[in-house]
Subunit: 213 residues, 2 copies
């Protein structure tokens, strides 16, 4: 995959491929062998045309009258994601949200895998939290370089977010997932995704009322 | 605001208005009086044209050569959100993620405010966690009806998510924020937003590698 072909893949397609993967795993557990684009669309909330477009991105061509062969399609999606060499992540800020993420992503087979955590609290430093070693904040740069980590997850308080992002980027991180309610500027070569829980909850509150007017 | 006019407002506009609100509060703290659509665009990562369109949705017309009057614009945005009568939320599942949300949204002035939590763990039931009373799972319907709650936040494990959503909807909830990695079907009158941390992290991992090919 070249840089150009990868740049042309939309984040929404990548999201849906990740969703399909989960659904296909569920189908395998249920003993299904084949699946149609319509079934995948029903699960993901999209259209069958969109599903077929997404699957074309994989280069997968194995559809038949019965639909897609589930194990083969899964293999294609796994290859698509594992082509990404960036599977090692660090987590900055081991509060409740940080710990929830550690529980889910500090296992060996997680993708990405959180391999190190950071905090400023002395009682957390040098302990293992949900299977993940917690380092001192000042060690961030060293650990990222030593372990060739390319993904950073920011769960620090908002006023520490920008500085934390700078530390990550300076050490070589190229993908950031930011949970702090603060807009962070990063260089063009860094991919950043913001999950803003306040904004999301306000939006849900706003639309929850649609039916009551 | 009529049901129709509200339905025509896009979720993206509502998200951005929530973001502008935060930024305007910061500007007031810094003593600024006016702000341009360009400055708001720079903060939100959009365009000045988009900012002006968003602000037109508010019915706000007070721009001048100096830009928008910040206190007046804030008042307009606050009115826009407070027109929504749905400000009371419940949280189902008091794990680490649930507790992170309680810390942020169980205060009196939070919008929306989490007014009740639910869990199946006996050691949590009938206790107060981060300022929020935790009820027994079987009490969900009663509490939602008694307290006229319209927003539900789902932070239970994936295999309990669909059943939890049904309980919420049956009791009258019309807006759901779902964190469980499970697709949930709800009736058309219910607004649902999924925050899927696995999918989001996989996406960041994928694009973190763009520059390394």
């Amino acid at each position: 995959m070249t840089n150009n072909s990868k740049n042309s893949i939309s984040p929404k397609t990548v999201e849906r491929l990740s969703l399909y993967k989960r659904f296909l795993h569920e189908q395998i557990e249920r003993g299904s062998g084949f699946i149609s684009s319509r079934q995948l669309a029903a699960f993901s909330g999209g259209t069958a045309v969109q599903v077929r477009q997404d699957i074309r991105v994989l280069g997968y061509t194995g559809s038949s009258k019965e639909g897609y062969n589930i194990p083969q399609l899964l293999l294609s999606i796994d290859r698509f994601f594992s082509a990404a060499q960036c599977r090692r992540a660090i987590l900055a800020g081991v509060g409740n949200l940080g710990q929830a993420l550690l529980i889910n992503f500090s296992q060996r087979d997680a993708f990405p895998e959180i391999v190190a955590a950071f905090d400023i609290a002395e009682d957390k430093v040098d302990t293992v939290i949900h299977g993940c070693r917690c380092f001192r904040r000042t060690e961030i740069g060293e650990v990222i370089k030593d372990q060739a980590i390319s993904i950073g997850i920011i769960t620090v308080p908002p006023d520490a977010a920008a500085e934390t992002a700078s530390l990550l980027v300076d050490a070589g991180v190229t993908g950031i997932l930011n949970f702090a309610p603060a807009r962070i500027k990063v260089p063009d070569h860094v991919y950043i995704e913001h999950v803003d829980l306040t904004v999301t909850l306000e939006k849900v509150a706003f639309f929850a009322c649609t039916t009551t007017y």
